[in-house]
Subunit: 343 residues, 2 copies
């Protein structure tokens, strides 16, 4: 039986075009059935532009409202009761879809997912995970990258367990190395949050390598990096800004002479490749981990290819039963620390 | 009269060679007199290797102890009472040098500077400021980048005033735009610290542009970015790691064919140029702002050129009377908010 994935057809900057094309690609290339969520007439009109679409694998589910990129999440989620986010996530909750993806408003997606799906047992706050490319060609997973600010030590503890399971289930890493983002490798370095979280992470039944620094995000020394969502979001945005600036400066410096232009074209290609890898939508979107259901958030600028990857990732998450594994992992972490407490 | 700058001769990874060479360059190129602080025999031996050194502008001041890069700052500062850091900063305190620079242990430098020089009136915590290159060729100043964690809103308020004065006095920016690093532009976005700091920064008599995001570090939209030292340090280290990785990937991708090698050599040059600009020692080191005296910290990997720049920057800081300007700025900010409170 094909996996069924619900897709917010109205999320991206150029919706519904990339969503519909991404759904067609996913249906063709993978054994996936896609439910396209949005204003029925508009989505059907886009679908009709693709005469060879595998219509038997695509279905439109009507939702009359769209939450815009710049709408305040809290208000929009309450006010728009028939939003694509709410309709899509209800399909997941009711077992009619195995997962949901959106390239829309991240804050609204998180708020709606928490409300409609709820958190897994043992999870106090779901976290958004992003994947970064490393110099070694591997991937490093950072969480949280923006779903939570002012986190508590036990939040970071739970995210360590989630990140470990994500690296195993989706990237096939047998013993993921898990690091705590801080500003010095020694245990005592960092701030109040990291010092307290360090003590909790040490007790977990996973390969905790201790504090790591900002540069470890890209060197492949760890597979999972845990941090507060404010820090993770700054790390993500600083990276995006720096890559844009490096690209701009390479271009400016290299286009001044003909010979340099040759260099530019070649290095530009390599650089664009890296830039694409940095754009997390290329990795199939950022999963919101710790929910009773699969929910993936993609960049607003996603194209059909990125959305196809996100749809495939959602199916992989569903088929790997990652949520059940997280619930089990958290429960065994809890009982192990309880056991340790009895010594 | 030449400006006198005290230089820790034993700070950098290859000390005292780059320090002595940097001092010779600074003495030759600028009207600066350098006091080289370190074990006298060792420093003199290095000096003797440079037969044409302008010895009338260079003087060795003996200090018997060196604090290593990996020593715990708090302990080393207490235990080593004749360290190069303490001897050098005492010369500043006693008016025998206009400023001090070190490429050694940042934590130990900060602790010693706070102890020996003390903070300016109105400054609760001095901050380390780093300079980032932008796509527009301008510089953006970020503070704090690691001297303080778990900062309070009034710390960020004071750093905004210091950053504003730094941008004016050293970079000649007439009306620096000052931003608060957060994870969304709206006033209400961010964490507890940024929301409270936002209200304080709004009241300051400077051009506060509101919240900025990680990407604004490199796009030249602001001249000053204020944040907690944990966040600033992560931003700095993420940047260093990403630039290393981009350099590595460009190299790997481009060296596979002869034509690509041409491209590589050309783009490599442009990239190395940017990398050098990112390395803050190229800008003359990171000043510790808010002290009763000038203290500049350079990278441990600094070469003679970078140390010469740091010595020149220290002289510029001293001659611009930046500390007096900071004290005045903080006092006028305080009286203005007090006045506002009386309406």
């Amino acid at each position: 039986m094909p996996t069924v994935i619900a897709v917010d057809a109205m999320g991206s900057d150029r919706a519904p075009k990339p969503e519909v094309e991404g759904a067609i690609l996913a249906a063709r290339q993978h054994d996936i059935h896609v439910l396209l969520i949005g204003p029925e007439a508009e989505v059907r009109a886009e679908l009709r532009l693709h005469s060879s679409a595998p219509l038997e694998q695509l279905q439109v589910v009507h939702a009359s409202e769209v939450i815009g990129m710049n709408e305040k999440a809290a208000h929009a989620v309450r006010a728009k009761r028939d939003s694509t986010l709410r309709v899509g996530l209800r399909l997941v909750r009711d077992g009619k879809a195995a997962g949901f993806i959106t390239a829309g408003n991240t804050g609204a997606a998180m708020a709606t997912a928490k409300m409609v799906l709820g958190a897994l047992p043992g999870v106090d706050r779901p976290a958004l995970a992003a994947v970064f490319p490393t110099a070694q060609g591997t991937a490093s997973i950072m969480l949280d990258v923006g779903a939570n600010v002012d986190s508590k030590p036990h939040n970071l503890e739970q995210w360590a367990v989630m990140g470990d399971i994500y690296a195993r289930a989706i990237f096939g890493v047998e013993h993921p190395r898990v690091g705590l983002l801080s500003i010095g490798e020694e245990e005592a370095k960092g701030n109040e949050l990291t010092r307290a979280a360090h003590q909790l992470l040490k007790q977990l039944p996973l390969q905790f390598v201790g504090n790591v620094e900002g540069r470890d995000l890209y060197n492949g020394n760890v597979e999972v990096i845990v941090c507060d969502g404010f820090i993770g979001n700054v790390a993500l945005k600083v990276s995006e800004g720096l890559v844009e600036t490096v690209g701009y400066i390479l271009k400016e410096t290299l286009r001044s002479t003909i010979t340099r232009q040759v260099g530019f074209l070649l290095s530009r290609r390599a650089f664009e490749e890296f830039k694409k890898r940095l754009d997390y939508s290329e990795y199939g979107g950022a999963p919101l981990l710790g929910l009773k259901g699969v929910c993936i958030v993609s960049h607003g600028s996603s194209n059909a290819h990125a959305l196809k990857n996100a749809i495939r990732t959602a199916a992989e998450f569903a088929n790997a039963n990652i949520n059940a594994a997280i619930a089990r992992g958290l429960s065994s972490a809890r009982s192990q620390s309880a056991g340790d407490g009895n010594h």
